[in-house]
């Protein structure tokens, strides 16, 4: 049986996790890839200027890692609050 408090606590933890993930999502693409791209371009990653790298490569890698991180953490939350399937 899922209680009301349990539900609320699960939702709160979920929102916190999503917020953390979306902050990272925002930082790597909008900040590093666009707003701060120019100053970051003075740093080099091999032949890549760093801002350019974030915009065309790095942000995409981070997106992939973020989704798997989120999925794993959500699985843990599902178990912790006993709201998982089966």
């Amino acid at each position: 049986m899922i209680t009301k408090d349990n539900r609320a606590a699960y939702w709160k933890d979920n929102l916190r996790l999503v917020t953390i993930c979306l902050v990272i999502w925002f930082v790597v693409s909008y900040l590093f890839g666009i707003v701060l791209a120019e100053p970051l371009n003075s740093i080099r990653l091999g032949g890549y200027k760093l801002g350019f790298w974030f915009a065309q490569q790095g942000s995409i890698y981070v997106f992939v890692v973020l989704i798997f991180f989120y999925a794993r953490q959500m699985n843990k939350l599902d178990q912790k609050y006993d709201v998982h399937e089966d």
């Binding site: 939702w11 979920n14 999503v18 909008y30 915009a55 890698y61 959500m74």
Partner: protein, 592 residues
């Protein structure tokens, strides 16, 4: 073997596979037709989603777009991948928990309103149809260029193939064909990229090759920056797409639009569990990222190859440019398609390719006797289509690119057609007009709707409306400003009610349409635009393509405010929201 024979064999083989899958995976229930019986493995669904998502535009046009925009092309790379983060965290698991068949169905039930459902159906159909026209064109183009058949013949062949597996198998048939199509398209995309990266940098991984040094010891990107600025073009790695605000909002519009496109969302209805929906979004992005991180390398390397082919020596020196009669065969071949055109403006028998819109550079160029850019047409699609020939790769690679382009267009077309036909048969027919329809008749109706959608899409592909080139902006603008906010509010804001949602969708949608039409003409009719479509006229320099994000913000704000000014949603709707927020109970699926 001759190229044409090889192409016929490779493309023919892929078609046999698609038809075999169609026969093997016929749908016998509406559940199978709409959501593949909710039995697709998350990794398999990820692969199908990647094919569903990556269209003819991703496969054929994107690398070329990046090649000519440079850093400015990043909006497409980030925009069309970052949307999956939003999808995975804000929509997919909850909509899967809801467990029904279509996106408008969720909107209708969550907002307890047939009006909301119909508004969602209209947004879905307009967004999907505009999008499918491009795919149909892509199919015709791929056929006519590689197999030397008429555009219409190519289009009919493609329609026939989609007809077989989409009408017979519905979502089930489409899913398994999309998996096969993903494999074809990703091989076709990466193999030429690996060869080219190897040739230019000695590194077989294009993502690393792009950041590596070339034979002469200079970094590839530095070299590219140098040779394009030498010819008066903007520096490759810093050339921005409008001002910073425009890049920001353009990226955001594409992300929100991606997460709001119904044909992508319904793919997540096909997995067995909520947990699977989360992982599946991750897998989808893995498979998409393989192409999307390769594309910038393809773009930069193709630009380098093209520029070096024409500018063979020092800029400005008498013998620094390619002698026209000695131009490579691939240039001559693609000139016959009209994608490439050359005109000897100064009559020196050599080709000059430079930026003649750059006033300072033009003065310098005139001193060398250059009288204008002589590559009068370089279609961006050439960067992928002619890539294997530019790098002198064997014929089977060129044949594979043909099959890949067709696979990319077919897979996206099928996904869109399913979204359209299920909105007609499930949302309009069963949901609004004939609620008592039996399952058997609904299945028949869905097959008829699918057949009708294919014919309509084919007709639009043959007779594209004048605005065909603008439609991508429209599809993303619509999805971003109407569908995504309604779905997200439906899950995250328990207080959102039907009045708020409808007001939000309509205001977001009209603001976006108004802005697009203002600069592109009312309903894209040429000559009816209210102001020239130039950065000076745009609001804060925001281009019409980038305005979807603003529309979405308006939608959120209006829906939030109106919901709070009117009565809260009924008790059972608040329970529905609480229920979709927890995974338990999804396995059983909602009764239908």
């Amino acid at each position: 073997m001759e190229l044409k024979t090889m192409t016929y064999i490779v493309v023919g083989l892929t078609f046999l596979v698609y038809i075999a899958i169609a026969i093997w995976s016929r749908a016998s229930t509406t559940g199978e037709f709409y959501v593949a019986g909710k039995g697709i493995h998350p990794v398999a669904n990820g692969m199908a989603t990647a094919a569903d998502w990556m269209s003819a535009a991703s496969f054929i046009s994107m690398a070329g777009l990046i090649a000519f925009l440079g850093y400015g092309g990043s909006v497409f790379l980030m925009g069309w991948t970052g949307g999956y983060v939003l999808l995975a965290m804000l929509l997919a698991p909850y909509l899967r928990k809801f467990g029904k068949f279509t996106v408008p169905e969720f909107v209708g039930e969550r907002y307890y309103s047939q009006t909301a459902r119909i508004v969602a159906v209209i947004c879905l159909i307009v967004a999907s149809i505009t999008y499918v026209i491009g795919q149909m064109k892509g199919i015709g183009v791929a056929f006519s260029r590689f197999m030397e058949v008429e555009f219409a013949t190519g289009l009919f062949t493609g329609m026939g193939i989609v007809f077989i597996y989409a009408v017979l198998g519905g979502m089930k048939g489409i899913t398994y064909t999309q998996i096969a199509q993903y494999c074809v398209l990703i091989f076709a995309y990466t193999i030429p990229a690996i060869f080219i990266s190897l040739q230019l940098t000695g590194n077989p991984i294009p993502q690393l090759g792009l950041g590596s040094t070339m034979a002469d010891g200079t970094y590839l990107l530095d070299k590219l920056d140098l040779i394009v600025t030498d010819l008066g073009f903007r520096e490759y790695t810093t050339s921005s797409n409008g001002n910073m605000l425009n890049m920001f909002l353009y990226t955001l519009s594409l992300m929100i639009g991606t997460a709001g496109l119904p044909h992508v969302i319904i793919r997540f209805f096909t997995v067995p569990k909520v947990r699977d929906a989360r992982y599946s979004a991750g897998w989808a992005l893995v498979f998409i990222a393989i192409l999307y991180t390769t594309a910038p390398a393809v773009g930069a390397m193709a630009r380098l190859n093209l520029t070096n082919t024409i500018q063979t020596g020092d800029v400005g020196s008498a013998a620094g440019n390619l002698v026209a009669d000695e131009r490579p065969d691939w240039m001559k071949r693609w000139e016959t398609t009209g994608l490439l055109a050359y005109e000897d403006k100064n009559g020196d028998g050599r080709i000059q390719y430079y930026n003649d819109a750059n006033a300072d550079f033009v003065t310098k160029a005139e001193g060398w006797g250059w009288q204008g850019n002589e590559m009068t047409k370089v279609d961006r699609d050439i960067m992928v289509l002619a890539n294997p020939e530019i790098a002198s790769l064997p014929n089977w690679v060129i044949a594979l690119v043909a099959a890949g382009g067709i696979a990319a267009a077919l897979s996206t077309a099928a996904g869109l057609l399913l979204a359209i036909s299920s909105a007609i048969s499930h949302d309009l027919l069963k949901g609004v007009f004939m609620p008592q329809i039996s399952e058997k008749n609904e299945l028949m109706a869905s097959r008829i709707a699918m057949a009708f959608a294919i014919v309509l899409a084919g007709w639009l592909g043959l007779n594209p409306p004048g605005f065909a080139a603008q439609v991508v902006a429209l599809a993303f603008g619509l999805a971003a400003s109407s569908i995504f906010p309604a779905l997200m509010m439906g899950i995250f804001d328990k207080r959102a009610n039907s009045t708020g949602a409808i007001a939000g969708m309509l205001s977001g949608l009209s603001a976006t349409l108004l802005y697009i039409f203002w600069f592109k003409g009312w309903f894209f009719v040429p000559g009816t635009e209210m102001a020239a479509n130039t950065p000076d006229n745009w609001l804060f320099g925001i281009s019409p393509e980038a305005f979807g994000a603003v529309g979405a913000l308006i939608n959120f704000a209006v829906a939030y405010a109106v919901s709070r000014a009117t009565a809260p949603p009924p008790e059972h709707i608040q329970h529905l929201v609480e229920d979709i927020r927890v995974p338990r109970g999804a396995g059983a699926g909602a009764a239908h």
